[in-house]
């Protein structure tokens, strides 16, 4: 309570100074722009979600979700991604206090968990394709591979980005531009986890529920 009151008092005093303060610092502008990008990415995913929800019964005589999906594997993927989101948060804490070892450690664990997620998903896809459930089989499977594959592609891009960021920390150190990119990366990684929450609920839980 006290904190909230203090913040509001400060705001009232500071509001008059906003126009004199000039443009916001680059860190805020960059992160806000990236936030807008993430929201438009989520809007793109919502179109894929809508396509999946519309086509989920269009199996064209092929296998449906209840026959294909393995909930144990989905639970393991969820655990990997959630834990990697947590370690990514710890990494950004270490980075903002310029602790090199903590940042590397957080990045390595985040990368390992993200890679484990991706490996599980690729194994699941390979398994389905081996059993004849290819994207060409039915509209349901096309929508499934587009939706889940697009998320997997985002995770793969995130892993590459994380590697590049660690190279930048190693070479350039924690200068302001690297800090901004690390902030954008952690926003990206947390947003991917938010999309996965919707994904495992709609695809793996609702699809398998009797």
């Amino acid at each position: 309570m006290n904190v909230a009151v203090a913040v509001y008092d400060v705001e009232h005093e500071a509001l008059s100074g906003v126009s004199e303060a000039g443009p916001a610092p680059k860190r805020i502008v960059v992160a806000y722009g990236f936030w807008i990008f993430l929201l438009s990415d989520i809007v793109m995913f919502s179109a894929l979600f809508a396509a999946y929800a519309v086509l989920v019964r269009s199996t064209a005589g092929g296998p449906n979700g209840a026959e294909l999906f393995n909930q144990a594997s989905a639970a393991l993927e969820t655990a990997c991604l959630l834990a990697s989101s947590y370690t990514c948060g710890l990494m950004s804490l270490a980075a903002s206090s310029r602790r090199r070892v903590g940042t590397y450690l957080g990045a390595v664990v985040t990368f390992a968990l993200g890679a484990a997620f991706l490996a599980l998903e690729i194994r699941e896809f390979a398994d389905m394709i081996a059993h004849g459930a290819t994207p060409q089989r039915s509209a349901f499977l096309s929508a499934f591979f587009t939706l889940v594959g697009c998320h997997g592609l985002h995770v793969a891009v995130g892993l590459i980005w994380l590697t590049v960021m660690m190279a930048q920390v190693a070479i350039k150190g924690f200068r302001a531009s690297v800090q901004r990119r690390l902030l954008c990366f952690s926003l990206f990684w947390h947003a991917l986890d938010i999309i996965w929450v919707g994904l495992f609920t709609v695809v793996y839980l609702m699809g398998v529920a009797p």
Binding site: G17, R27, S46, A79, Y86, V197
Partner: protein, 131 residues
Amino acid sequence: MTATRYDRAPGDRSTPAELQAETPPGVLVYTIGLFLAVVLTATSFWAANTSLLWAPGVPLGLAVLAIAQMGVHLVFFLHITTGPDNTNNVLALAFGVLIVTLVVAGSLWIMANLNDSMMPPAELMNLHMQH
């Protein structure tokens, strides 16, 4: 004081030095978030597989759990707050949620209507099957 004049960057929780002491440490925030997210995820997986619950209500319950978990991620991992320095972030998020709702609900609504209107009578379906 200069820090409070601007909006806070999304994902940032660096506060002015005088407030630093009163905010909980970052690790604690992330750990609370992880704990809540694990509880909600475990509940969703349990609800999808149990026979104790009324089956037609399960999808609605799963949707509520998913939205709650997204809220947990936004608050504890992305540090979106209701504070005045977060207004722009929240407004952008609200617009995103509006578009997502329109796209998903609108598509489902239109396609359900279309399926109802386009469904041919049963005897016509049988004719189709024979050819």
